[in-house]
């Protein structure tokens, strides 16, 4: 261990706390301490801007580090003796989730689960691609041969809950979000797949709109 006591440590505790102020994890008392320092110290704004920049650049760097390849999960499941996933596709929710840092996950979930007006025009699949906010499955909806459904997730459903439910049912988001927050969710090409979709549609608290295609 080499945590040296250096002479150049700031005399003000608030300066040490600044990174934690920016990442939003300080308690109320410490937060007030930092805010008082920020309001009283002319140079504090520069410190804050530097920390904010470091946080932004670090996040960008972290997002570029990628994700573990699919085989890690497959090997893990094999190791514990679980049945392999019926689909080799990586679900959109998984990918969105994996791409988001904890701080951004909330905003991502909000975007994904945006409240939609259930106007019929919105819910007709037009084939027109929505602005590319998120990636979709690699094969795309046209190449997908199994049963599928149009789904709008509830506005207050968390990303983790959505990802977990899709995983439990072995379902994959194959397209979306489309206008109105509509996702196309696909299932393995079997009766079980169709039943899994219907179970998704009946999931309490998760689904705002559901329709088999």
């Amino acid at each position: 261990m080499n945590d040296r006591i250096e002479e150049d440590l700031p005399k003000n505790e608030a300066e040490l706390l600044l990174p934690f102020y920016v990442n939003g994890t300080l308690g109320e008392k410490e937060q007030r301490l930092v805010e008082a320092w920020l309001s009283e110290n002319a140079e504090a704004a520069d410190h804050l801007a530097r920390v904010d920049e470091e946080l932004t650049l670090t996040r960008a760097d972290a997002e570029m580090r990628g994700a573990p390849p699919r085989r890690v999960l497959d090997n893990l499941m094999a190791e514990i003796g679980a049945a392999p996933s019926g689909s080799g596709r990586v679900g959109l929710a998984e990918r969105i989730w994996s791409m988001l840092s904890p701080r951004y996950a909330l905003a991502g979930a909000a975007a994904l689960c945006a409240v939609v007006a259930l106007e019929s025009g919105y819910l007709v699949y037009s084939g027109q691609q929505a602005p590319a906010q998120y990636q979709t499955a690699t094969s795309g909806p046209e190449a997908f041969s199994g049963p599928s459904a149009m789904v709008v997730f509830a506005s207050d459903a968390g990303m983790d809950a959505i990802a977990a439910r899709l995983t439990d049912l072995d379902l994959t988001i194959i397209d979306g979000p489309k206008p109105g927050g509509v996702f196309i969710v696909g299932a393995p090409d079997s009766e079980d797949g169709k039943a899994a979709l219907e179970r998704l549609g009946k999931t309490e608290g998760l689904i705002q709109f559901f329709q088999l295609r």
Partner: protein, 187 residues
């Protein structure tokens, strides 16, 4: 439902040998764990192994999770211990030594200078030059959004050390920036 509440439910299911719950927990957390290990080790194969070992541990130990920390913090702690264990077999330098493994500044200064038009690239190069201990704490604070207390638990160090270590990491980062031709006005 809060993320940690859902994670706790998954851990409870894993304790009952529910592999779908393990899969769901993996999907929610594996990428962040992978990136955390990469911040420490800069080795993709090692990071993959650590991710796998971490979730195997979760499968084996879910029943002993006492819930005193967030599940995500528990996972990071397991992952770090796994990574440290592997790295210790490969190097004699203590992993949490702030100074020992820092790269020499002169080694790729030109590379940084070439990249300096792209501040993100400079940041990447400068982070790479930090010691593993400094890269790790930068990741925990800025990317993993961990609190002082959580980091103290993950790294097994006092809370004051968390604050001073982060300060030193930032200072070194700024010094690397300055050597790369970007003066941030501090230190």
């Amino acid at each position: 439902m809060e993320t940690d509440d859902h994670d706790r439910q998954l851990v409870a299911r894993i304790a009952k040998r529910d592999s779908a719950a393990l899969r769901a927990l993996y999907m929610a957390h594996s990428t962040r764990i992978y990136r955390f290990v990469l911040s420490l080790a800069r080795n993709e194969t090692l990071a993959e192994d650590v991710v796998s070992e971490t979730f195997l541990k979760v499968w084996q130990k879910a029943g002993s999770f006492e819930g005193q920390s967030k599940v995500s913090t528990w996972l990071l702690t397991i992952a770090r211990n796994q990574a440290i264990s592997v790295l210790r077999k490969r190097t004699e330098a203590p992993i949490d030594d702030e100074k020992a493994a820092e790269q020499k500044d002169e080694s790729d200064t030109q590379e940084i200078l070439t990249a300096k038009k792209d501040k993100g690239a400079v940041m990447r190069a400068c982070i790479d030059k930090l010691s593993p201990a400094h890269r790790e704490i930068i990741d925990l604070v800025y990317y993993q959004d961990r609190s002082i207390a959580e980091i103290a638990g993950i790294l097994d160090i006092p809370e004051n050390t968390v604050k001073t270590r982060m300060f030193h990491a930032r200072k070194h980062l700024s010094e690397h920036f300055r050597r790369a031709g970007i003066d941030r006005g501090w230190p």
